[in-house]
């Protein structure tokens, strides 16, 4: 429990700084709203206010600063505003039985989650298969490994629009497949690298012991290399799922997306409703946190049953 005190203290500090930052960030918007409702604003014309620095505006109009905490389209919403928007598009809708409506973040989160899980499965599968090939074949090791590294330096986001167009040209409906491909691309490399490290982790002494038993290659793999790679695998799975989620959202951002959390961000931007963007971002963060926590739990349970962790 005493471990959480520093974290809570830092979180509290972040929230406090956030609250304090809302006032200067929103002062221009607040003064615009005040001007439109006929209240007195210094200086009265919005064009003149453009030139003034923020601190000047705040000092000259102390009465209107508070307005910045309840704008409809704030530059920086307060935590409460974000929370309220989040609740409106998730819990409130669920309570009304409309959890899966097109405006609900639960629906969009589910869309994103689907593509993420497909991409994660694909990426993990490819990563593990690649790792086994690299560890067992020198040709594959020398030809593939450098390209695996280079593939990560290529910004997949540049390829994303291309992949989406290509898949629709080839006749694949919807965006789940291209999103899953982009996810898999981002997630296979951490899994590959982690798995290679893990499969190669047993020392010479352990490998020699199995040779004295005349163990077959399959035995060595199943009884030594694979179990030894579990801790490494789980670490990279956690990195991989976070990367897969980023990949899905990146796949949802190019124009034309209508469903998924990335699409909500895009639509929020196009319609100029920043609160929708913030709510979708937080929903994505919660989704990411949930996925990584789940994997962490799985890691603990698996390693404990294997006796690798207390």
């Amino acid at each position: 429990m005493k471990n959480s005190l520093p974290i809570l203290a830092v979180l509290a500090a972040i929230v406090a700084i956030w609250y304090a930052a809302v006032a200067p960030m929103n002062i221009r918007g607040a003064l615009d709203v005040a001007e439109r409702s006929g209240a007195e604003v210094v200086p009265p014309a919005s064009v003149d206010r453009f030139e003034q620095p923020i601190w000047r505006l705040m000092i000259d109009n102390p009465g209107h600063v508070a307005q910045g905490y309840s704008l409809d389209r704030p530059r920086l919403p307060t935590p409460v505003q974000v929370g309220r928007e989040l609740w409106k598009s998730t819990g409130e809708m669920a309570l009304k039985g409309r959890a899966m409506s097109k405006r609900s973040l639960i629906y969009h989160g589910w869309i994103t989650l689907q593509a993420t899980l497909w991409g994660f499965a694909l990426g993990t599968g490819l990563g593990m298969a690649g790792a086994i090939a690299i560890v067992y074949s020198r040709v594959v090791n020398m030809s593939l490994m450098p390209w695996a590294i280079i593939s990560q330096t290529v910004p997949i986001v540049a390829l994303a629009p291309m992949i989406i167009v290509l898949s629709s040209q080839v006749g694949i409906e919807g965006r789940t497949v291209p999103k899953a491909i982009i996810s898999a691309y981002l997630c296979y490399f951490p899994v590959l690298v982690g798995m290679v490290k893990g499969l190669r982790s047993p020392g010479a002494a352990q490998l020699d012991l199995l040779r004295t038993y005349s163990a077959s290659g399959l035995h060595v793999f199943l009884k030594l290399r694979l179990p030894a790679s579990m801790p490494y695998l789980f670490t990279s799975l956690k990195i991989g799922i976070a990367a897969a989620l980023v990949g899905t959202i990146v796949g949802e951002l190019p124009t034309g997306a209508i469903s998924g959390l990335g699409a909500r961000i895009l639509i929020g931007d196009q319609f100029g409703t920043p609160l929708a963007i913030w709510a979708a971002l937080f929903a994505a963060a919660i989704l990411a946190g949930g996925l990584v926590t789940f994997l962490d739990f799985a890691q603990r349970v698996t390693l404990r049953r294997m006796g690798m962790q207390a």
Partner: protein, 282 residues
């Protein structure tokens, strides 16, 4: 069809050559270590060309590498302009600012165990989030030009560098810190002479991750608004206007830029951390 058959034959031949090289007695030489993946890469391109030409794939779906090369050669001025906007102004400046900010924040937090214990888990958590999503917000704050792209890069790059630097600074073992105590060394002495050099492998780990993130951040941010230049801008509009050749040429530039950037950092890493077991010849 002949194209495709030729490509297949090339693939098999190249694989055979690689297999021989990988098992030859020169397999550890630098020449062979570069030749094998290079041959593999060339094979991929030949296969691509063979499939596109052999099956008559429409250039709107997938152009042949030779066509892309042609477009590349013809559009170097546009490509250079976009490169300057996205990579130099957006990604690079954001990278430098983000790295410096994260580095100095890490050193500041290092002074306080309380802060380190509080910020490290939060930093780890944030580093796993899809931070690209804040691109539209930052564009609305900083405007359409390269500054908002740099801002996105700063945020994306900040947390991995922070987390890696803080972990690196914690790496020194008790014996090394005791030795410094016996010299009655100041905090500053210990930081500069012991902990920072020892942290370098971790810092470079973070830097390599940051290079890939920087490019991603700059390009994605351009999807959300950009003056009429920039790689992200060209790609998203190019797809819409079906100038697929140009899009692939931009992708090639992005690939080369990303690889070069990563390679540069990796090269500096090898020179700065020559002493680390993972780089030594032992």
């Amino acid at each position: 069809m002949n194209w495709f058959l030729f490509a297949l034959a090339f693939w098999i031949a190249a694989w055979a050559v690689n297999a021989v090289l990988a098992n030859s007695r020169w397999r550890n030489s630098a020449v062979v270590r570069v030749a094998i993946p290079a041959l593999f890469g060339v094979t991929l391109i030949v296969l691509w060309e063979g499939i596109v030409r052999g099956f008559g794939v429409s250039p709107v779906i997938l152009p042949a590498p030779s066509d892309v090369a042609q477009t590349f050669a013809n559009s170097t001025d546009i490509l250079w302009q976009d490169f300057r906007q996205t990579v130099l102004k957006g990604a690079l400046s954001g990278f430098v600012i983000g790295v410096l900010a994260a580095f100095f924040t890490a050193i500041l937090i290092d002074r306080s165990v309380f802060l380190t214990q509080g910020l490290l888990p939060i930093g780890n958590f944030v580093a796993a989030l899809p931070i690209v999503g804040i691109a539209p917000i930052l564009v609305s704050w900083f405007g359409f030009d390269w500054q908002s792209k740099a801002a996105v890069v700063v945020v994306m790059v900040f947390f991995p560098i922070l987390v890696n630097t803080v972990q690196g600074l914690r790496e020194t073992d008790a014996m090394q810190r005791d030795l410094m105590r016996t010299y009655a060394a100041t905090y500053f002495d210990t930081l500069v002479k012991l902990r920072l050099p020892a942290a370098l492998p971790f810092v470079f780990n973070g830097l390599k991750i940051a290079t890939t993130l920087a490019l991603i951040g700059a390009i994605v941010a351009e999807y959300f608004g950009s003056p009429t230049r920039g790689m992200g801008f060209r790609i998203s509009t190019g797809v819409g206007s079906l100038s697929i050749d140009l899009v692939w040429a931009e992708i090639a530039v992005a690939a080369m830029a990303g690889t070069a950037f990563y390679g540069l950092v990796a090269w500096i890493e090898r020179r700065a951390t020559f002493w680390h077991p993972s780089h030594r010849q032992t």
